[in-house]
């Protein structure tokens, strides 16, 4: 997996790259539109992480331009403006996904994974644990071919935990994942416990293993038993 990070804020770009390299992605960084344009013409990328507010380039123009060389690449647009107009424009001009600053890198990671798995077809879009199979492309959980009846929020939470297997996700990250950015924290984030309880109960009907571990009041962690 090769990823190009286009972000004029060096510290942020490097921090994202650090994380992604840890996850075994190959990362290039461009700090401005001109460099990004050159990189896109020279290399093939699977993902382009693009901050739309570049000082020297209109981010949306860059997508159009890049599509000539990297027609297969997925464009994840990052914006600090959070404007719906920009979001729509982004989708029209070929952006595949959208993240508002400040986003969680785990959120970014799970989106990259979901897209990757879908991109590489049937087998890789299914993640197995115990006797369960999480189908990323059909957005459902199966237990030996039988769909498990999860609500949308429950499915979103479970898949987020599964895609970040072995990692502690705090409540805030889980709330953000379900709610997006705006409503994140005026809320009592403890309500996440209700969902986890319900998911556990639903999984428990099929399998007694404890997949979702509580990490002492900090958050939750998915572990393949």
């Amino acid at each position: 997996m090769r990823i190009l990070i286009v972000e004029d804020e060096k510290s942020l770009a490097e921090e994202i790259a650090l994380f992604l390299r840890n996850e075994q992605y190959s990362c290039d960084i461009a700090f401005n539109g001109r460099d990004a344009s050159e990189e896109l013409a020279a290399n093939l990328y699977d993902f382009v992480l693009l901050d739309i507010g570049l000082p020297d380039y209109n981010g949306l123009d860059l997508i159009k331009e890049a599509k000539n060389y990297n027609s297969e690449a997925y464009f994840i647009v990052i914006t600090a403006r959070g404007e719906l107009d920009d979001k729509l424009k982004g989708f029209n001009s070929g952006a595949d996904d959208y993240l508002a600053k400040p986003f969680s890198i785990l959120e970014l990671h799970s989106r990259i994974q979901a897209i990757t798995r879908r991109k590489f077809g049937q087998s890789s879009s299914i993640i197995k644990f115990g006797s369960f199979a999480l189908d990323i492309s059909k957005l459902q959980l199966l237990h030996q071919e039988t769909p498990v009846n999860l609500t949308k929020k429950e499915y979103d939470l479970l898949s987020y935990l599964v895609l970040n297997k072995g990692r502690v996700l705090d409540r805030l990250q889980l709330v953000e994942h379900i709610w997006g950015s705006f409503y994140e924290d005026d809320f009592d984030s403890n309500y996440i416990d209700v969902h986890i309880k319900n998911i556990r109960k639903k999984l428990g009907e099929f399998d007694q293993s404890n997949y979702i571990k509580t990490v002492r009041g900090l958050g939750y962690k998915f572990e393949d038993a």
């Binding site: 959070g82 986003f103 890198i105 502690v168 990490v215």
Partner: protein, 441 residues
């Protein structure tokens, strides 16, 4: 005293009409007066001529000839048949010699005549005589009256015609002015201003328009600058927040930490989250101020409000609260911005849940009052003290009972209601609950 402002074209018409009335009044008096002066002058010349003739007759025949004709009265007088002229000579005791012309009114055989009279005294053989020659001015006065009447009617017609004409002309001339004003009135925001030039050949209007356009462009660019400024500020603030957040995430991921350390980092992330929310809410408030949201969606209120039940399902479950939703049978659609409307009701519901203890009850009702959709969101929570009620929509107002809430949520609710032209009322009693009533006019 307050006088209601009058439109320019009406003012011009009123002034024109007043001037015309003045001209009529003056003309009606002045023209007959001039005619009168001219006629009288002519008459005077005739009288002087007649006096000269009389002098020469007196010289030729002697004054006694005239006096004799008058009999024993020591005076002579003669009228012509229609009493238009007369002459009289009489002996007087006054010895001053003079000549003068004046008006005189005589009543002869029951009829009144106005005369112009020339009088002169002469001296003849030690005696003094007064000669008077008079000419009737009745015909002149009649003519004067006629002229006056004629002038009056003529000018009246002329005035009516010219007033109508001028009314049309001013209307036509001032039309570009009206258009310029109309455009100013109809654009509530400089970005909606119509810059196409108004057709006019009047230099003043062109000047006015150019100046207005100049000002409008300045305001527009100020607005744009402000928008850029806000967008920059948010970018400037959200990017560093994003860096800190990513660093904290990375730190949590890659470092072996004790639970206590992890907890501290998560606490920092929660604080960062609060900061993010404030920046985003301020950004949203300014963007509403800038009218960046279009009110172009048809929003189904039934669906939107029913969605609150799903949105907050886990909250109700966790706090063991009862959620009551009452919707009318018919589907209620309103015009507005879907995103803003969602935030509006979401915030109110969130507020209700937050300030209602476990086991409480939150109800959302949608009614139609005379075709106006009315949304009532009610809880039986801790309520708001009466002294705080006037301030609940004020930004950053902090109350004892609201804990660490900075009060941007309700400020946003009010802002959205204003933007959508909704009215919002709040009724609350401490320990009994709060009720928000929103009329979607």
């Amino acid at each position: 005293m307050l006088i209601k402002p009058i439109k320019l074209k009406n003012k011009i018409s009123i002034i024109n009409a007043l001037t015309k009335v003045l001209i009529i009044v003056i003309s009606v008096f002045l023209i007959p007066w001039i005619v009168n002066r001219v006629s009288i002058k002519d008459l005077d010349n005739q009288l002087i001529e007649n006096l000269d003739k009389t002098y020469s007759l007196v010289e030729q025949y002697g004054i006694e000839e005239f006096i004799k004709q008058g009999g024993d009265q020591q005076a002579f007088g003669s009228y012509n048949i229609f009493k238009e002229e007369y002459i009289s000579i009489e002996k007087v005791t006054d010895t001053t010699l003079y000549e003068e012309i004046d008006y005189s009114r005589r009543t002869i055989e029951g009829e009144t005549f106005d005369y112009r009279v020339i009088s002169a005294t002469i001296e003849s053989q030690g005696s003094y005589y007064l000669i008077e020659i008079g000419k009737s001015i009745n015909s002149i006065l009649a003519f004067q009256r006629l002229i006056r009447k004629f002038t009056f009617y003529f000018l009246l017609v002329l005035m009516a015609v010219t007033i109508l004409f001028e009314l049309a002309i001013t209307q036509y001339l001032l039309r570009p002015f009206g258009k310029i004003i109309e455009r100013l009135k109809s654009s509530n925001h400089p970005k909606n201003f119509n810059y196409t030039p108004v057709k006019t050949s009047t230099a003043d209007f062109k000047d006015l328009e150019e100046n207005i356009h100049g000002l409008m462009r300045k305001i527009e660019s100020a607005f744009n600058e402000e928008r850029d400024y806000i967008s920059n500020i948010s970018h400037e603030l959200l990017t560093p927040i994003s860096i800190i957040k990513t660093k904290l995430d990375n730190f949590l991921n890659t470092t072996e930490l004790t639970d206590e350390e992890t907890e501290k980092i998560i606490e920092s992330k929660v604080t960062l989250g609060r900061l993010t929310k404030m920046v985003r809410t301020l950004l949203l408030l300014s963007r509403i101020d800038n009218e960046e949201y279009l009110l172009a969606d048809r929003v189904n209120l039934n669906e939107l409000l029913a969605g609150l039940g799903t949105d907050f399902q886990e909250h109700f479950e966790q706090k063991n609260q009862e959620f009551e939703l009452k919707l009318p049978d018919q589907q209620v659609e309103i015009q507005g911005n879907r995103e803003l409307l969602h935030i509006l009701f979401f915030n109110l519901a969130n507020n209700a849940i937050k300030y209602t203890p476990d086991g409480g009850r939150i109800s959302v009702h949608l009614n139609l009052e005379k075709d106006i959709p009315v949304v009532v969101i009610q809880d039986n929570g801790i309520g708001i003290e009466e002294k705080n009620l006037p301030f609940i929509f004020t930004r950053f107002k902090k109350f004892q009972e609201s804990g660490n809430n900075f009060g941007l949520g309700l400020a946003l609710v009010k802002k959205i209601c204003d933007y959508q032209h909704f009215s919002i009322e709040v009724y609350s009693k401490p320990m009994e609950g709060t009720r928000f009533v929103i009329r979607c006019k």
